[in-house]
Point group: C2
Chain length 705, copies 2
Amino acid sequence: MLESFFRPASIAVVGASRTPGKVGYDVLKNLIDAGFKGAIYPVNPNADEVLGLRCYPDVPSIPRTDATRPAVELAIVVLPAKAVPDVIDQCGEAGTRAVIIISSGFKESGEEGRALELELGRRCAKHGIRCLGPNCLGVISNADKLNASFSAVMPPAGNIAFFSQSGALGTAVLDVCAGESIGISRFVSIGNKMDIDESDLIEALGDDASTHVILGYLESINNGAKFMDVARRVTKKKPVIILKSGRTAAGARAASSHTGSLTGSDAAYEAAFKQCGVIRAQSVTLFFDYVRAFSTQGPPKGNAVAIVTNAGGPGIITTDTIESSALKMAELSPETRAALAAQLPRGANVHNPIDVLGDAHADRYRLAIEAAIRDRNVDSVIVILTPQTSTEVEQTAAVIADAAKGTPKPILASFMGSFSTERGARLLEERGVPNYAHPERAVQTLNAMYSYRRWTEAEPAAASAGLPTIDAAAVRAVLKENKGARELGEHQSGRIVDACGLCTPASILVRTAEQAVAAAEQIRYPVVLKISSDDILHKSDAAGVKLNLTDEEEVRMGFARIMQSARAYKPEARIDGVLVQQMVRGGREVIVGMKRDAQFGPLIMFGIGGIYVELLKDVSFRVAPLSRAEAVEMIEELKMSRLLKGFRGEPSADIGAVVDCLLRISQLAVQFPELSECDLNPLVVFEEGKGAVALDSRFSIQQHG
Amino acid sequence: MLESFFRPASIAVVGASRTPGKVGYDVLKNLIDAGFKGAIYPVNPNADEVLGLRCYPDVPSIPRTDATRPAVELAIVVLPAKAVPDVIDQCGEAGTRAVIIISSGFKESGEEGRALELELGRRCAKHGIRCLGPNCLGVISNADKLNASFSAVMPPAGNIAFFSQSGALGTAVLDVCAGESIGISRFVSIGNKMDIDESDLIEALGDDASTHVILGYLESINNGAKFMDVARRVTKKKPVIILKSGRTAAGARAASSHTGSLTGSDAAYEAAFKQCGVIRAQSVTLFFDYVRAFSTQGPPKGNAVAIVTNAGGPGIITTDTIESSALKMAELSPETRAALAAQLPRGANVHNPIDVLGDAHADRYRLAIEAAIRDRNVDSVIVILTPQTSTEVEQTAAVIADAAKGTPKPILASFMGSFSTERGARLLEERGVPNYAHPERAVQTLNAMYSYRRWTEAEPAAASAGLPTIDAAAVRAVLKENKGARELGEHQSGRIVDACGLCTPASILVRTAEQAVAAAEQIRYPVVLKISSDDILHKSDAAGVKLNLTDEEEVRMGFARIMQSARAYKPEARIDGVLVQQMVRGGREVIVGMKRDAQFGPLIMFGIGGIYVELLKDVSFRVAPLSRAEAVEMIEELKMSRLLKGFRGEPSADIGAVVDCLLRISQLAVQFPELSECDLNPLVVFEEGKGAVALDSRFSIQQHG
């Protein structure tokens, strides 16, 4: 469907202008200059001709030249915002399939604009017209000689597609592409994303043969589920690299005042990107660094890197960076070392990093690079050059480019310098070898490529088969009984946890000391007493918990004290009573939670022990529904995960039970959208094979209307 | 003293050659080409004349032209390694004060070279000659028109001094300086650092008026104490930025095979750099990024940053990066906001980031930048430009440069682009405004500048006044009694801890169950029993600890079990007996340790709780002797430090007692160099005012010979 944007048979520029510097002029001029082969129709009621083309007063006046096609396939609109909805009706009449609304003054400009954008959306839907923008820069498709944008710069042709939510950042990126020979297949400025959004584009670009890498700059995502569905598929075919801003709270505020979009939590984006294989560039620098390599080289099969260098110092720096990443220094095979020792001069290092010495000419580089490529222990090569007296910069660049051409193993270069290395660097660029001014950046890029390779090889997240199921009817019953509640107390929450098939400690809600003693005897000593009140969520703060009570006397005293402290803590609190609970001993405390994200829906959270979560932010997130592999990853990802695996001679915790709990809470969240938050805190995990029990839980319910 | 290297009256090039491409030719040619004003004497027995200069057969043949000066003040030696020591004798005869040994083939090349370097050192010492190298590139001093190196590139003049332990990295940096107009005052390649090392240079460059910033690349430091002493003083006057490689174990191995130096632990470097205000660049990219700003702008007074941008997206990215650093987004004053609102068009954002909108000309940037500078809530400004249709790139660059000239507040620019921004970027460079292709790097640089500013304003680390003292005589007595031991068991270690004025639990060493019961009664129940054996250091692994024994029966049984398990664990272990110890309850466990680093001497270590140390590597290090402020920093620096400060309603721990302990262990380490390692693990810290007690300790003793 989006093909009408990239390769239309005919284009109308509605609001074409004869005044250079005006957007209506620039767009038309760009269309003509880029050499578009189809029909171009300027539309402007006050002109007969613009830039040598016949001008029409409105879209319906444009004659149909081919009975099988509409008169205007794509319309580009540059009129003031208020005039735009009516133009859509005209386009509808002319059979137009696609419009690009460059005009601003919509959602991004306040209430009035927001209303106008809603109207615009209605008109497009009515006529079945797909719309890009409003408030965008337009579209470029190099293969189709189409520049339907007001970008002053036309980037060179290449295999990278780039879409941007920010017009200005789009401009800056195109400017870098033009200045540094980075080739673009298609560029799309998505503006306010009223209709066509990032997911539509990733889908379309995934099928575009001229595009090998998809790049995007995003400040928000319209529809998280759609994005994940599309990205999960497309990333298996080609890399999708996203620069997403609004990481911090202040950044998110700036983003939302800038585009008028709700941005959602960055943790959700981070989780969603991981779950669908999107490569997230953490900075603009990395964005470009990644692009250079992903567009020219295949990702490495494994993580073993060989370094070839004419300088020891940079070799050490590179080694440091490799060792701090998921990559490792390749262990060269005895054959490779023997071959290097035989051919390189005395003093050269034939271990990795391979040091060809400061006086190395290009031929010595060739020897070393070829030996490294041949070595089965080597998955990729980084070639470092410093400009010394006898260094042959350009010849060495040619040697590297030749080597890169003959092997599927990625080769990245780092020519360190400027004055003497510039022409060599240019040559590498032209011949498709990514080159980095500093070797650390080559390593970071290679690391991202390796991680992408693992994604493409991983089994797709399994479907629901084999996942645990929950007792939905029982959950529904609890929710029905508590209709109108915004928060469920511990007792009601416990019933939901039970219905999910998870263990909870035996517990009885009581209102008097007498009842407490009876309950304790039924449950068996020792027991725990806990205040039960929807108004007291942090029970410890209210001194509302007594642990390990071993006889009747302790239970009586505990009951009295808890009631007293709770009243002192919050005199107005409505108190349901006190929960008498089996005392659970031993095990490791973990936290399982769920929060509903505005963009991505239910976000499952996992952490080990309260203090790590609070002090270290050592938590992991994934968007539900979770696959079993994703649940396992959530645990592995934590810095403190070793605590669960038999740290310091302790027995390993029942990690299977944690995975099971994550999967059940994921099911619950997916099946009951009215649950807005939940917290199992703590879930106590016993040693392997002995399961886990949810000691305390809390659910929040979304009230509609 | 080093002035003879930078501005000698006369120079001999020993090993001058007539063959272009040879080092002996390049050095002489560079000297002549750079326009050196003093006398230049080629020395070569096989030539009468080189490059138009009269050539001498040896150094003593060079005639004295000024009775008050030696015939040759500086000699540059480019002969094969073996011939070098005799040249030193000749130089001694000629009254030479300084030699640069460019020749390689010394320590870096193996045993034979190592011996030759020792000999070279002896000859230099005998004649009182200072030596740079061997195995180095030479020296450049721009102010003195001196290029006494074989660098093919002469960097432009400026205020940055740069020394490098790697010749190749030196070359690469000079090449970047030449290509990107980064001005150098002095360049020194320090090679093997046989005599002159990084500390000598930092000292000398600290006093050099032409140098405003000192840069260095290091793989190792010769003498940690000397380095810290010098750096602590010089960094108060001017920034010292160091790129230190060998961060990882593999990197350190590569470094030591490259230069033949022992590199010491990276933790020690990191600690030493912090303690003496050295700015550590974590990558080559940051190295250059820092240089650009530190050499042109003063550091900001505070951490509030204003952003001026013509693009929303990059503004958000920059906000994210600021919020993730020690910097913060400035809150603009109402006056500034009013002024901006009055002068900028509708739609412009007058909060920070200040968005001057995509169609901003240079004058709108001027308004916004000037308003930001005037605002007392703003300490620094980052100006972002993306090249849009009406953007005036060069005029905006001029506006920024003008503004930067008129204010002490640092202004950093980020012109995003390449094709359209290149000339603007060049103009900024020329006019001394640091410019970054991506705004994140401007933020990171500003963050380093702010941190440097705080260092220059901090009180110098106090002298020993007011620090706690230890009972050195008592420590000496313990060490004497245990002469020959490599490890002290818990009992002897406890005596040292006592002598340091730290608390230890009451404890008695016993050999029978009877004695254990008697000891427990003397100490009072409850008690702890611990195996005491120098051969069993990890007591828990041997099941050699029983806690909380409350009566005679438990003590008897505990004693029997411990002896049994210890024998099973390690049948050959020599067992001193069992330690009966007061049971200490409550408190937070921390670890205080000391390890002697090869370069920096005693390194004090602090961590909270064993699992954080092991799993999170959440530990801090400082080189002893510690000041009180440094001891406090060691605690603050930990991710888990909040655990000590009354986290979640618990009372705050006695942090003063921890500081006291760190200071006492620091004293101990300084006064007793024979102690190679120590561990107080755990030190139990009680609530504020209640002190701390070292529950277990361990000392290792260095045996000489």
